[in-house]
């Protein structure tokens, strides 16, 4: 008889663990916090906290996707990559003179 193995739903979606804020999320939090502080320091802290919860939970709901801001920015881009153009970010792989 083949062994059956259970998928534990309580941990299945927790692969990402604690989601720390991304670099650009920190910038957003700081900006929102500063803007709030302009009215009242507590308001700034409160807004930053709300923003943090919203962003990280949103990311968790979006299966941990990190590129959501880039994907949102896409609507302002042309729908094409210039793949056949020369790759200006190309760095030849060098193995320290072994070859």
């Amino acid at each position: 008889m083949l062994q059956r193995n259970k998928v534990f739903r309580s941990v299945e979606s927790t692969a990402h663990g604690f989601l720390s804020p991304l670099r650009y999320e920190v910038v957003i939090l700081a900006a929102v916090g500063l803007a709030g502080t302009f009215f009242h320091p507590l308001l700034g802290v409160g807004l930053a906290a709300v923003c943090f919860v919203a962003l990280t939970n949103g990311r968790r709901l979006d299966h941990g996707r990190r590129e959501y801001l880039k994907l949102w920015m896409r609507r302002f881009e042309k729908q094409q990559y210039r793949l056949l153009d020369e790759d200006d970010q190309y760095v030849p792989y060098d193995r320290g003179g072994e070859q």
């Binding site: 062994q3 990402h16 941990g64 990190r66 042309k78 094409q80 793949l83 792989y93 060098d94």
Partner: protein, 819 residues
């Protein structure tokens, strides 16, 4: 603003020295082709052993390990079925091959492959990336080796085969199917062309512009969608993905597995467990999240602590593509249903198909894949794709279809990978043996790169012989051996029989065995040995007294026996007895058959000797003549030029060969390879064949065994299962073999093929189905009514080439209006 795609494809290089993928994060990843188990021939007991090995292996992986299993399922193309033409083959066979290829491509045959990409998810840090050197490379290589040993150890313990891929193959795997890009097409046809280091790898791999859309992404002219797994099935067991119903269009399924830091991930789980327990205490079970409360977190804790399992991250992606968005949508919906059938939920990667598509390429998701599920290591092991079907020889010339799927299986009867290229075909009457044999003749022996001389020995008679039909169609000669027909002198010419003035041991063994049969000296006791000694001496003396290259006759042996009379060194009593028996034989009706110079033709690329004319003779004489013809054929085939391919086929003749000939027949089978010769044995009367006494020799020396349907012959089936050591599942597959006239015939094919990657030769068992194109059918049929129709048309239109007549019968006026 236009973005560079370089970040979408984090590929730095494919290192040709170490055959590894190098990502822009500095991760090194190896690639291997994986061959698992054919689900139709694997008994449950084997699956249990596979599961145990995988579970144990997955508990031992290092914490930074990353595995990616890629299962690709594509339609067979014209290029996959290509067989090089032979300048000497007939136009008929060239045309047949072309029509067969067209037919098989139209049938929608599939080819699947499974690859595993493995490595460490630890890349280089910021400082190391600034100055990549030999030391950083060595550090990454040692991380890769650690994972590699765990991967290969686990795979081998599970009984699967894995072979590392060379860089040329890795390039192919990285290539995204799309419209043709000149650089990629050059590489695919000539994998030996070195990597062009003047341009980026990405520039050379992606064959067209990429355009994105919220619903799909487009590469060149092809539309792609990526689906990701949202929820796994509630329970898994080994080969869980084996139940996945593969849709009949091109797609890839990618399974990512990553071993995270256990201290961190288990710590997080324990916190969660504490929270659940405290919630249950404070609020009571009814108020706690039901799903979580019933999930048995304590069970998971037990698995981690007592069973030693690890928590691993697992993600599944499905990539579908099509030439237009509407078809793409339909395929994506079908793919979702296929996953739903195995209780898994998937969702489309809206707005991010291009991002996820590139992460699905080999090793490209090692640091960027995010659609993780957290599961115990046993669940991850269950989702390893361990079931797949053998593909046979890459240079195969006979194309089958795997019976339970639409996958292609190719076989090359003369592939050098095997210890010998001899084969054995067993099938009851009406199982499709003759058609298969004729197809092998047409596609592998008389045409294509392995074209060679074919010598067939049949025992069917001119009305039933399929070889006679083949000889007529393929331009061979059909020779009937009988009292009134053609004859073959059992005594080889001195130039063949002797070496340095002495009879070769092989000839001596053959002639002694023959004379023992004819002179009733078949025992194994001391008395028989003493008679045998006189016979051997006489055979030697017959050749010693020959001058010139004319073959001796039995009359010469009688003369030698006569010269021994009075010789004290020879036992006179036994000599007189032998002389009496020989004279009786020479005076009998058999002498006309055996005491005659060879009149049967020996030239030509395709010769068929039919022994049906011996039907009226005793079994002893039939057996002796079969032995003589077998040896004659051997002498023709073993022409001293191993570079020229030769094929010897015995149809029902093995049954005639009996005890006492084993040594000589064995010599034919075992030395065939050294002479560039393939020996094929075909029989429908398995029990007679076994009784013949040489079945053991043939079975042992035939690396390829093709077992066809034996419906209605329960005893034969039981013997075959026992004699060929078929396991439970193979036996079941063998018993279920069928043949539907005019449609297909099934076989269980056991052979040796090139294993995955660089892994060498591996045993292969496949339940295959042979489909014929309409033209194949007309060319290969052994049905009397069909042949009568062909004959009638040939008489009506004597000036028309035969290929045109067969083409008309195959396709009629619907195809091209040929009349």
């Amino acid at each position: 603003m236009s973005q560079s795609p370089a970040k979408l494809l984090p590929l730095w290089d494919v290192d040709q020295h170490d055959d590894v993928i190098v990502t822009t994060g500095g991760c090194l990843l190896g690639c291997a082709e994986l061959v698992g188990f054919d689900p139709t021939q694997t008994p449950e007991q084997s699956w249990i052993a596979v599961a145990e090995a995988l579970y144990a292996g997955f508990k031992q992986f290092p914490e930074h390990a990353y595995l990616q299993f890629i299962m690709e399922d594509c339609a067979v193309s014209d290029l996959d079925l290509h067989v090089p033409e032979n300048p000497n083959e007939t136009k008929m066979l060239g045309y047949q091959r072309e029509k067969r290829r067209e037919y098989l491509v139209r049938r929608g045959m599939r080819k699947t492959s499974t690859h595993v990409v493995y490595g460490s998810s630890f890349g280089l840090n910021h400082d190391e990336l600034k100055k990549v050197n030999a030391e950083t490379h060595r550090k990454q290589l040692s991380r890769l080796k650690e994972v590699e040993s765990a991967v290969f150890g686990t795979i081998r313990r599970a009984g699967m085969q894995a072979g590392r891929l060379k860089s040329a193959k890795i390039f192919e795997l990285l290539h995204l199917e799309s419209d043709t890009h000149p650089n990629v097409s050059i590489r695919r046809e000539n994998p030996s062309i070195p990597w062009d280091y003047t341009r980026s790898v990405r520039e050379q791999l992606i064959p067209g512009d990429v355009r994105w859309h919220s619903d799909h992404t487009r590469v060149g002219n092809r539309y792609y969608k990526v689906l990701a797994c949202k929820q796994l099935a509630p329970e898994t067991h080994v080969n869980s993905l084996g139940k996945f119903l593969r849709p009949p269009w091109n797609h890839r399924i990618v399974v990512h597995i990553k071993w995270p830091n256990q201290a961190s991930v288990v710590g997080s789980f324990r916190q969660r467990r504490k929270f659940i327990h405290s919630a249950q205490k404070q609020l009571g079970p009814a108020d706690t999240n039901q799903e979580v409360a019933q999930d048995g977190v304590d069970d998971l804790d037990y698995l981690l602590v007592d069973d030693g399992q690890k928590l691993v991250m697992l993600g599944i992606q499905a990539i579908v593509w099509a030439d237009d968005p509407t078809t793409l949508d339909q395929r994506a919906a079908e793919m979702s249903r296929a996953f739903a059938n195995i209780d898994m939920a998937v969702y489309e990667e809206a707005n991010a198909h291009d991002y996820e598509l590139f992460k699905s390429l080999p090793g490209m998701g090692v640091q960027s894949f995010e659609r993780w599920r957290l599961v115990p290591s046993n669940v991850a092991a269950d989702l390893v794709p361990v079931a797949n079907y053998a593909r046979g020889d890459s240079d195969g010339t006979v194309d089958f279809q795997i019976a339970d799927t639409a996958e292609l299986f190719r076989w090359n009867p003369s592939a050098r990978i095997r210890a010998n290229s001899n084969f054995l075909i067993l099938g009851a009457s009406g199982s499709g043996k003759s058609v298969l044999t004729n197809l092998i003749l047409a596609t592998s022996m008389l045409s294509g790169p392995n074209r060679g001389r074919v010598l067939a020995v049949d025992y069917a008679g001119p009305t039933k012989s399929s070889f006679k039909v083949a000889a007529e169609v393929f331009g061979g000669a059909y020779v009937s051996i009988s009292d009134e027909g053609q004859k073959i002198n059992p005594w080889p010419k001195p130039s063949i029989a002797c070496k340095s003035g002495n009879v070769t041991p092989a000839t001596l063994a053959y002639l002694t065995a023959l004379l023992n049969i004819l002179l009733h000296n078949e025992g194994t006791d001391k008395e028989s040995a003493l008679f045998g000694a006189i016979i051997q001496q006489a055979v030697g003396d017959v050749y010693k007294q020959r001058s010139g290259d004319e073959a001796p006759l039995f009359g010469d042996l009688a003369t030698i026996f006569g010269s021994y009379v009075g010789d004290k060194a020879i036992d006179q009593k036994r000599l007189l007895e032998l002389m009496g028996l020989l004279n009786k034989f020479l005076a009998g009706p058999e002498a006309a058959l055996l005491n005659s110079h060879t009149t049967a033709p020996t030239d030509g690329d395709f010769l068929v000797y039919d022994l049906y004319g011996l039907k009226t003779h005793t079994t002893r004489i039939q057996s002796a003549v079969a032995f003589v013809v077998a040896n004659h054929v051997r002498n023709l085939a073993f022409d001293g030029d191993p570079s020229k391919k030769k094929y010897v086929l015995f149809d029902e003749v093995a049954n005639l060969l009996g005890l006492g000939m084993g040594e000589s027949v064995e010599e034919l089978y075992t030395t065939a390879r050294a002479h560039g010769c393939t020996v094929g044995t075909i029989t429908q009367e398995y029990e007679n064949y076994v009784r013949s006494g040489i079945a053991g020799v043939v079975n042992l020396n035939s690396t390829t065994r093709i077992l066809m349907s034996h419906q209605g012959a329960a005893n034969a089936m039981a013997s075959i299962v026992k004699d060929f050591d078929l396991n439970e599942a193979e036996a079941e597959a063998f018993r279920a073999l069928s043949c539907v006239k005019g449609e297909y015939s099934e076989s269980l094919l056991k052979t040796i093929c090139v294993g995955p990657g660089e892994s060498g030769a591996v045993p292969v068992t496949a339940k295959v189905r042979l489909h014929l194109s309409p033209f194949d059918y007309q060319l290969l049929t052994s049905d009397a009514a069909d042949r009568a129709k062909q004959l009638a048309l040939r008489r009506k239109y004597p000036d028309l080439p035969q290929v045109q007549i067969l083409d008309y019968l195959a396709y009629g006026t619907e195809k091209g209006g040929r009349t």
